[in-house]
Amino acid sequence: MLGVSVVVFAILRLVPGDPIAMMLPPGATEETRQNLERLYGMDKPLIEQYFIWLRDVLHLDFGMSTQFRLPVMEVIFNRLPVTLELVLLASIIALTLSFALSVLAVWIQRDGATLIIDGASGLTQAIPDFLWALIFIFFVTLYAPSIPISGRYDPRTAQDFITGFYLIEALITLRLGTFAELLRHAILPAFALALPLAASITRLLKSALEEAMSEDYAILARTKGKSRIAIILGEALRNALIPVIALTSVQLAFLIGGTVLIERLFSLPGIGSTAITAVVNRDLPLIQGVVLVFAALFIAINLISNGLYRLADPRLGKTDE
């Protein structure tokens, strides 16, 4: 994290794009510029600026967002639930689709069906998430104008939530009408994010399942009269999970990165769209905060996936005796 903080701090100050210059209106004088630099602490040497920032970060003070004029952490934590819910929903969609298609392909063992599933997943994987988003927007415009393409909920309605996790909160509190409304708004961005991931997992899981089905234990189970679907679900699937967990954890990191464009296209107030406006407006404290939070999320995903490996294969947690 310390390395990330140094790199992001240095890069933001080395790339062209002076935030003070962007703030200068017509008629501003050199004095105005110096005054604003002083006000935003940019008049000090770079090294000093870094250590001031680092000292504050260690005290959990990430500074004030220059564009939102609120503490950076408040801005980030208000938006993070939107992104996490979107990623969670996309992951559920991706995993459901990929597990269903992979199991189906290995179960039915028909060349035609396999070809269709392979072809569809290849095509889906080749189209990036933001392009899926544009395709969905185009599709909705032509054929389904009632599906919303912007926002988290209908802005005509007032919403009352305690947490920022609206979907989860609505579900837990059994506000099913609200849940449906939120889901309706989230479905297109979640599918746009999910499809490329679903395709990757489908291809990997299908080949892992095929390999597992050719193992001795699977052949033995077959000779004992167990049905093919029972062997897939009961035995092969668990063995095929390890590479899937590895791929999913790596892809999840990309999924979070993918929210940057998806949130912008669907006007979702998450951390991704916030990151774009922060970059465009050279809101340096906010960009630094967002990058650190992304880095922390990636580390958390890696730790979780390590735990999942051990759950899927308990041998990984044991030392050689």
Partner: protein
């Protein structure tokens, strides 16, 4: 699951009517609003979000859609005879959204706050030119500490919003961001950053009552998503879309469109370095550009040719100052400096791509036109942030495309700041031009000041110190049944939208 699926379908059916509610106006807006304090920080000088600010807050002085000035929270304003004092009369009967009356002390507090360095108002240099305020009832007087002939025009421009003194001081800056209070026609009902702002009509507003009870600014930065918003009926109105899409949508059943030239121009900054110190090269570059062709072919006719930094609606516009399209003259000028098609003069031109309509394509076409007369321009694409950075350091390439907004239409805020050497926005820095512009900053005779700027513009045009290209046109598309009054200052104000 069946229940939820049913609810989703039910909700979908009702969503199609989202924008058809007669009391609500949904605007698919092109930028997001980051901050509610319209007087400090980067948002305060962002022209694209002023429409939202103007819906919630009042300015000291307001503007009509044609850029002319009209009373805002001030009903009278002016200098004394020798220009040493100003006098302002505050509107009676205006209320803040929390029900408190707008008073002269709110006006004075807002002006004094704007003039203090520590508040971070980017226009502080201007607001600090007046001080020592005195209040007598609803009449305010102040000393002119440094005469600026445009101070009252600036009172209708960036950061010139009046905030409630008592409320702001009681809740603080962060409290104000979360619960902003203004005195404008609409008050903030709900705001979700990067998503939407829902405004409710303020029934205590002193001015004409807006028609729509609720206004929703949906922040939809992607142009294709904005097109989809208005095409599906999810929003009633949108703006800043490609001209091709405008033509298609405006011709579609159920939608209408309106376009208007706005106070935003496209220009090529000339930096007085290298080959640009040769006036023949500069003049040739200016005469070789067929602006009308660019407007007709690239912008589908949506643009107005300009030859100075003044658009036709600006106070110093002079229709007689023209720079002719004359490629033969361009060739002769270049030949006089030893250049030809075979031996072209070479320089770099910088441009944004996608920041303004067809910006990169315009520069590509210009580079093609230049090539035919003996100019070889290398195009460099950069981000707008880099442009600001380079311009502030006076390190722009010899030629750089940019757009310049000037919603108060004063020549000091176009020609003045863009061309006066000491200004951090200027890339041209020569003594002859500075000597012409310098005395105009403090000129008290308005007609002499305007005539002075007209003469400066003619001198600049004659010597090709900048290449003005065109005035941009704002396309607005809206659902049938609405009537939209466009604003030359490029505002899309919900109070200017009514049902037919």
């Amino acid at each position: 699951m069946k229940k939820i699926t049913g609810m989703i379908l039910g909700a979908s059916l009702s969503a199609g009517m989202a924008a058809a509610d007669d009391s609500t106006l949904a605007i698919a807006y092109n930028v997001s609003l980051p901050s509610w304090d319209a007087t400090v920080g980067p948002s305060a000088v962002n022209p694209t979000i002023q429409s939202i600010y103007k819906s919630v807050f009042d300015q000291y002085i307001d503007q009509n859609p044609d850029l002319s000035f009209r009373p805002g929270l001030l009903t009278e304003w002016g200098w004394n005879e020798d220009g040493s004092k100003i006098r302002m009369v505050v509107r009676e009967g205006a209320l803040w959204h929390n029900g408190d009356p707008v008073t002269a002390s709110d006006i004075v507090w807002s002006l004094e706050r704007a003039g203090k360095e520590e508040t971070g108002n980017p226009i502080q240099f201007l607001w600090s030119t007046i001080g020592n305020f005195t209040i007598d009832g609803n009449v305010i007087e102040a000393d002119v500490l440094r005469y600026d002939p445009t101070i009252f025009k600036w009172m209708a421009f960036l950061t010139a919003y009046v905030l409630p003194k008592d409320y702001y001081e009681s809740v603080g800056a962060e409290g104000f961001e979360k619960n902003p209070v203004g005195s404008g026609p609409y008050m903030v009902d709900e705001y979700v950053a990067n998503s939407f702002a829902r405004l409710k009509r303020f029934d205590g507003y002193w001015g004409p009552k807006p028609e729509f009870e609720t206004v929703i600014f949906k922040f939809v930065p992607d142009a294709s998503a904005r097109v989809a918003e208005v095409e599906t009926g999810a929003s009633d109105i949108t703006l800043e879309i490609p001209y091709e899409e405008y033509d298609r949508l405006a011709a579609k059943d159920g939608l209408e469109g309106v376009t208007t030239p706005v106070s935003d121009i496209g220009m090529i900054f000339i930096n007085d370095v290298g080959v640009m110190e040769d006036s023949n090269v500069r003049k040739a570059a200016a005469h070789a550009i067929n602006k009308n062709l660019i407007i007709e072919r690239l912008l589908r006719g949506y643009g107005v040719r300009i030859d100075t930094l003044q658009a036709p609606q600006y106070s110093a516009f002079n229709p007689d100052t023209l720079v002719a399209y004359d490629p033969d003259l361009a060739k002769k000028l270049l030949a006089a400096s030893g250049y030809s098609e075979e031996n072209p003069v070479k320089f770099k031109i910088q441009t944004t791509r996608g920041f303004k309509p067809k910006d990169y394509e315009i520069i590509q076409v210009i580079a093609g036109m230049w090539k035919r007369v003996g100019i070889e321009a290398e195009i460099e694409v950069y981000e707008i942030a880099k442009h600001f950075d380079l311009r502030a350091r006076d390190e722009l390439a010899p030629a750089a495309f940019y757009n310049w907004g000037n919603s108060i239409g004063d020549p000091s805020t176009s020609t003045g700041f863009a061309m006066f050497g000491p200004s951090p926005h200027s890339t041209w820095d020569t003594e002859d031009l500075d000597a012409m512009i310098g005395p105009l900053w403090g000129e008290k005779d308005e007609s002499r000041r305007i005539d002075g700027f007209k003469a400066v513009d003619a001198y600049i045009a004659e010597n090709a110190m900048v290449i003005p290209l065109l005035q941009f046109v704002q396309p607005i598309v809206f659902r049938e049944g609405l009537s939209v009054t466009p604003h030359v200052a490029n505002f899309l104000l919900p109070q200017n939208v009514v049902s037919q």
